[in-house]
C-alpha cells in the first residue's frame, strides 16, 4: 500500500505546484487559492468541516468520533490543563501575567509575529517563555504537561475563528514565506513534502489512515490520538510527521517549524478552532 503511494507521488512529482496565487508574498491571495483548491476537491464538505480532518471524510470514522466526543477520552487532560493554567509560579505570578485575557480564549491568535525580536512565537513557545520569565523550568515541547495546558487553552477557544495576523513587516512576510516553502519542499527518504500527503493525497488512505487535508489542520491542534492514548502537542505532530517520511526531524521549537505553523495556521484563518482535536 505504501509502495503504491510512493509511486503515485513520484508520478505527481513533476506536477506538484504550490497553491500560490502570484509571485511576491501575498498571504491572503495564497489563502484564497488554498481554500479554493480544497473546497473544489471536497465539494460535499462545508468549510468548517475541514477542521475535523478524516472524521469529515469517512462515515464510519465519523460515527466513532461522535460516540467518543460525548464524553471525550481527553477530559482528564483538560482538567489538568485548567488547573495548570490557574496555578501560580513559585514567585507568585501566573500565566495571566503573560497572556491576554488570562490565557483564556486566546489560542486562535497564535502563532503571533513578535516585532521586537522579529520572530514567530507559537502558543507552546509563549507558554515556555512565560515560565522562564518567572523562574520556572520550561516544559518539554513534546510531552504531557505542554500538551495538557495547550489543550485546555485550545478548548477555551473552541468555535472561535482562527485569527492569525501577518503584519506588513518584511520579517513577518519572510517567516510566512519560509514556512510555506518548507510545507511544499520534499524531504526524507520517502521524498514527501507536507503537501504530498495533506494536499495531493488529502482524503485518501495511507495504510490504515485517512490523510487529513491541510486546510484546517492547525485548527485541531493539540490533538488527542487514539494511537497515543493521549494528547500530543503540535511540536510532537510536526516532528513525528518528519520522522515518518524518514527525514531527520528538527528541534521541536525550531524557527522553521514555527514558520510552518505560522503559514499553515494562516491558511486556516476564519475556520473554527476545534482543539483539542481527536484523531485516530
Amino acid at each position: 500500500m505504501l509502495r503504491k503511494c510512493f509511486i503515485a507521488v513520484a508520478i505527481v512529482a513533476g506536477t506538484a505546484q504550490p497553491l500560490l496565487a502570484a509571485s511576491g508574498v501575498n498571504p491572503e491571495a495564497d489563502r484564497k487559492a488554498f481554500v479554493k483548491y480544497f473546497t473544489e476537491k471536497f465539494p460535499k464538505l462545508k468549510l468548517k468541516d475541514f477542521v475535523n480532518g478524516p472524521y469529515s471524510m469517512d462515515e464510519d470514522l465519523y460515527k466513532q468520533w461522535v460516540a467518543k466526543e460525548e464524553f471525550p477520552p481527553y477530559e482528564f487532560t483538560l482538567e489538568k490543563g485548567k488547573k495548570m493554567l490557574a496555578t501560580p509560579f513559585k514567585n507568585g505570578k501566573t500565566y495571566a501575567d503573560c497572556f491576554e485575557n488570562k490565557g483564556v480564549g486566546i489560542r486562535q491568535n497564535y502563532p503571533k509575529f513578535d516585532p521586537k525580536r522579529g520572530k514567530v512565537i507559537t502558543l507552546e513557545v509563549a507558554v515556555n517563555e512565560c515560565r522562564e520569565a518567572n523562574g520556572e523550568k520550561p516544559y518539554n515541547y513534546k510531552k504531557g504537561e505542554m500538551a495538557a495546558i495547550t489543550a485546555y487553552m485550545a478548548y477555551t477557544s473552541r468555535g472561535k475563528p482562527m485569527s492569525i495576523k501577518i503584519p506588513d513587516d518584511p520579517r513577518a512576510l519572510a517567516a510566512y514565506k519560509k514556512g510555506e516553502e518548507f510545507f511544499y519542499t520534499r524531504r526524507g527518504q520517502f521524498n514527501f513534502a507536507c503537501s504530498s500527503c495533506h494536499v495531493q493525497m488529502a482524503g485518501m488512505h495511507l495504510r490504515t489512515e485517512v490523510l487529513a487535508p491541510a486546510l484546517g489542520l492547525m485548527n485541531a491542534l493539540p490533538v488527542y490520538r487514539s494511537k497515543w492514548g493521549a494528547v500530543g502537542t503540535t511540536s510532537r505532530r510536526l516532528t513525528s510527521c518528519n520522522s515518518q517520511v524518514r527525514a531527520t526531524p528538527l528541534k521541536p521549537n525550531d524557527e522553521l517549524y514555527r514558520d510552518v505553523e505560522y503559514f499553515l495556521s494562516y491558511m486556516g484563518n476564519g475556520l473554527p478552532i476545534s482543539g483539542p482535536g481527536a484523531r485516530p
Binding site: D60, L61, Q64, A67, K68, P73, S226, K227, P280
Partner: protein
C-alpha cells in the same frame, strides 16, 4: 457456583439491605451465602464473575455467566464500527426491544479473553449499554442479552488494523 441472574430474588435483597458490608457470614443462616449481595452502594469485588472472564470461547463464557446457551435474535441492536479506527478504544453500544432484560454481556471472540464486559440490569433499567472496548485484532463482537431467563445474541464483524492490546 456463582449465580449471575438474580432478578427473581430482588425482594430478598431489599429486605437485607441493612446488613453489614461484606458480612456474608451472617447471612448463611438464611441460606443466602451464595447470593451476590452488593452492600450499600459499594461495588463489591466478590460479585465479579472471575471464572467467566477466564474463558476462551463464547459457549464457555455464557455457561460460566448464565449456565445457558444463546439463540440469535434480531431484536438486539449492536452498534459497532466496520473498521475500528484504533483497537485500543472501540465504541460499542448495545440495546434491545426484548422484554425483561436482566443481563447484558459483550464478547470479543478473538481477544485473549473472550468476555469483555457484562452488565447487570435491574428491573426499571433499560436494556442498553454503551462502552469502549479494546480489540486485539479483527474479530466478531457478540452482544448477549438475558431476557425472561433465556439468552439471545447478535453479532458483528469488526475489522481492526491497529490492535488494541499494545501491538
Amino acid at each position: 457456583m456463582y449465580e449471575f441472574s438474580d432478578a427473581p430474588n430482588m425482594a430478598r435483597r431489599t429486605i437485607l439491605k441493612g446488613a453489614v458490608a461484606g458480612g456474608l457470614a451472617g447471612l448463611t443462616g438464611l441460606g443466602l451465602s451464595s447470593f451476590p449481595f452488593p452492600a450499600y452502594a459499594a461495588a463489591d469485588a466478590k460479585e465479579w464473575p472471575a471464572d467467566a472472564f477466564k474463558q476462551k470461547s463464547e459457549a464457555d463464557v455464557l455457561k460460566a455467566l448464565y449456565g445457558k446457551t444463546a439463540e440469535a435474535s434480531d431484536k438486539i441492536s449492536l452498534d459497532a464500527p466496520e473498521i475500528a479506527e484504533n483497537g485500543a478504544v472501540v465504541p460499542i453500544a448495545v440495546s434491545s426491544t426484548l422484554p425483561n432484560v436482566t443481563g447484558i454481556a459483550i464478547l470479543v471472540l478473538n481477544n485473549p479473553n473472550v468476555l469483555a464486559a457484562a452488565y447487570k440490569i435491574p428491573a426499571g433499567t433499560e436494556a442498553l449499554a454503551s462502552n469502549r472496548l479494546k480489540m486485539a485484532k479483527t474479530s466478531k463482537v457478540v452482544a448477549v442479552m438475558e431476557s425472561n431467563g433465556k439468552l439471545y445474541s447478535a453479532s458483528k464483524q469488526v475489522k481492526v488494523t491497529v490492535g488494541g492490546c499494545g501491538g
